[in-house]
């Protein structure tokens, strides 16, 4: 389907996000918002507790999934997923 590695990786990422949202039963708009919060935490780690609380409340993760200390890989994951989800919402891919 995808001729170059980048397109193939993006396709897999989009598919993974769809499956993830279906599993946790969370609307894509919530993932977009939590991604925006993750961006803010990367710039200001003091916001980490608030981010962690929001991520747990929205059932995107469970309490044991996130440490009390700042976890940048997790922030990178949510930030990237939020961006991709936003693109899919804009292009109509999310409903497909």
């Amino acid at each position: 389907m995808a001729k170059n590695p980048s397109n193939k990786q993006m396709f897999e990422a989009k598919q993974g996000i769809k499956q993830y949202l279906a599993t946790v039963k969370v609307p894509p708009e919530t993932l977009v918002k939590i991604g925006q919060v993750a961006d803010a935490v990367i710039k200001d780690k003091a916001l980490w507790p608030m981010f962690r609380e929001q991520a747990i409340k929205t059932r995107l993760v469970e309490p044991d999934d996130l440490d009390m200390k700042v976890d940048y890989p997790s922030l990178a994951v949510f930030s990237t997923m939020g961006k991709i989800t936003e693109q899919m919402l804009a292009s109509g891919e999310m409903g497909a």
Binding site: P5, S6, I17, V24, D65, P73, T80
Partner: protein
């Protein structure tokens, strides 16, 4: 982080493994941002961010920690070496600190600390390569090997990896990285590794464009000084006791002959060194081209002429009296000039008109008003002769 990746829900773990792979594609600015958040700045921030994402991605994909660390360190090395190949600045200090940090990391660090220190270890090895010091890379490896035995497998793996990178040197490593990544370069800057390679090339090009800097050839793995003009210094021989004053004859053949103007030979320019003073350093005459003035001289010097005064008026004598058709019959020059010697000139009354009613030789007094005296002087004699009386 280990806790997060080991206990995270399978659904999130699965999506994280694919999301981290495309971080550089979706938002490349996130990589240095994470590096900054970890406390790194500049090129090291990009290296740290790249290593963080790479390591986490590797772990999310199910790789073991040692493999993930090696991949993360490699990403950090790739990014950081890319910068140091061209700049070669501040590498020693960074390398020293990085080796220590790497040893701490494998000795028992966890989570973000492990990643951070693994990156530092990679930086240490990269700096060793960039500076051409294999010893630096070996030093980092040795430190890791003796830094603890909490996890012998990781210890050995990272140590071997870093030492191997140092032994390879910059050029083979970058070359191999280029070859490995050549298949991935669909769009420049889509992955940390691609960004690093692009950065290497860009910085090399930049260094080549700046004279006076070191030129780094990533392909050959060499750095050379760019060409520059050197300062020319003329050094006179040391003064020897009893010898005449030091003189450096500077002949005209060393001076470019000026074009145009009168042909002539250039005068000899002599550079004279000051006398050597006891205890003074060796005489050195800093010589620059601006110190020499060439003045052409000619064998035949032109005669000097006073310049014309543009305001001066030339005085010319133009005759205003012309005689035509009548040939003078003789007589004195004055009578000729006056025409009194002409046949048509009336002689009667002429004497009266010129001398007044006075006798020959009588001169009228101009001031006293007294009676004229009958005297002859030179003026009267000339007048008498002119009148022909």
């Amino acid at each position: 982080m280990g806790k997060f990746w080991s206990k995270v829900k399978s659904a999130f773990k699965a999506v994280a493994s694919v999301a981290l792979v495309v971080v550089a594609i979706v938002q490349p600015q996130l990589i240095p941002a994470i590096g900054n958040a970890l406390g790194f700045t500049g090129a090291a921030a990009t290296a740290a961010g790249a290593a963080t994402i790479t390591t986490a991605s590797s772990l999310a994909q199910g790789n073991s920690l040692d493999v993930a660390l090696k991949q993360g360190a490699t990403a950090g090395v790739t990014s950081f070496v890319g910068v140091n190949v061209a700049t070669s600045t501040g590498s020693a200090a960074v390398g020293s600190a990085a080796g220590s940090a790497a040893g701490t990391a494998v000795a028992g660090g966890s989570g973000a600390d492990i990643i951070r220190n693994a990156v530092s270890g990679g930086i240490g090895a990269g700096v060793g390569d960039a500076t051409g010091s294999v010893a630096a890379g070996k030093g980092a490896g040795t430190f890791i090997a003796t830094g603890g035995n909490v996890n012998a497998a990781i210890n050995t793996a990272v140590s071997t990896e870093l030492t191997s990178l140092a032994k390879q040197g910059v050029a083979p490593y970058v070359a191999s990285a280029k070859e490995t990544l050549s298949n991935l370069v669909a769009t420049p800057g889509t992955t940390p590794e691609q960004q690093a390679i692009a950065g290497v090339q860009g910085l090399v090009d930049e260094s080549k464009a700046q004279p006076g800097t070191q030129l780094a050839d990533a392909g050959a793995g060499t750095t050379t000084d760019a060409g520059r003009l050197n300062t020319v210094t003329v050094t006179s021989p040391k003064y020897q006791a009893g010898a005449p004053e030091n003189v450096l004859p500077y002949t005209s053949t060393d001076v470019t002959k000026p074009s145009g103007g009168a042909a002539g030979s250039l005068s000899t320019v002599t550079v004279t060194a000051p006398r050597y003073e006891a205890g003074a350093p060796e005489n050195v005459l800093p010589y620059t081209s601006s110190d020499v003035t060439t003045t052409p001289t000619s064998d035949k010097q032109p005669v000097a002429q006073k310049p014309k005064d543009p305001t001066a008026r030339e005085q010319t004598i133009t005759p205003s009296i012309y005689f035509t058709g009548v040939t003078p019959t003789g007589g004195a020059p004055l009578s000729q000039a006056l025409g009194t010697n002409l046949p048509s000139f009336p002689t009667t009354g002429a004497t009266v008109g010129l001398t007044g009613e006075r006798g020959a030789g009588e001169i009228e007094s101009k001031e006293s008003g007294k009676e004229r005296q009958n005297v002859w002087n030179e003026a009267s004699l000339r007048l008498k002769d002119a009148l022909g009386v």
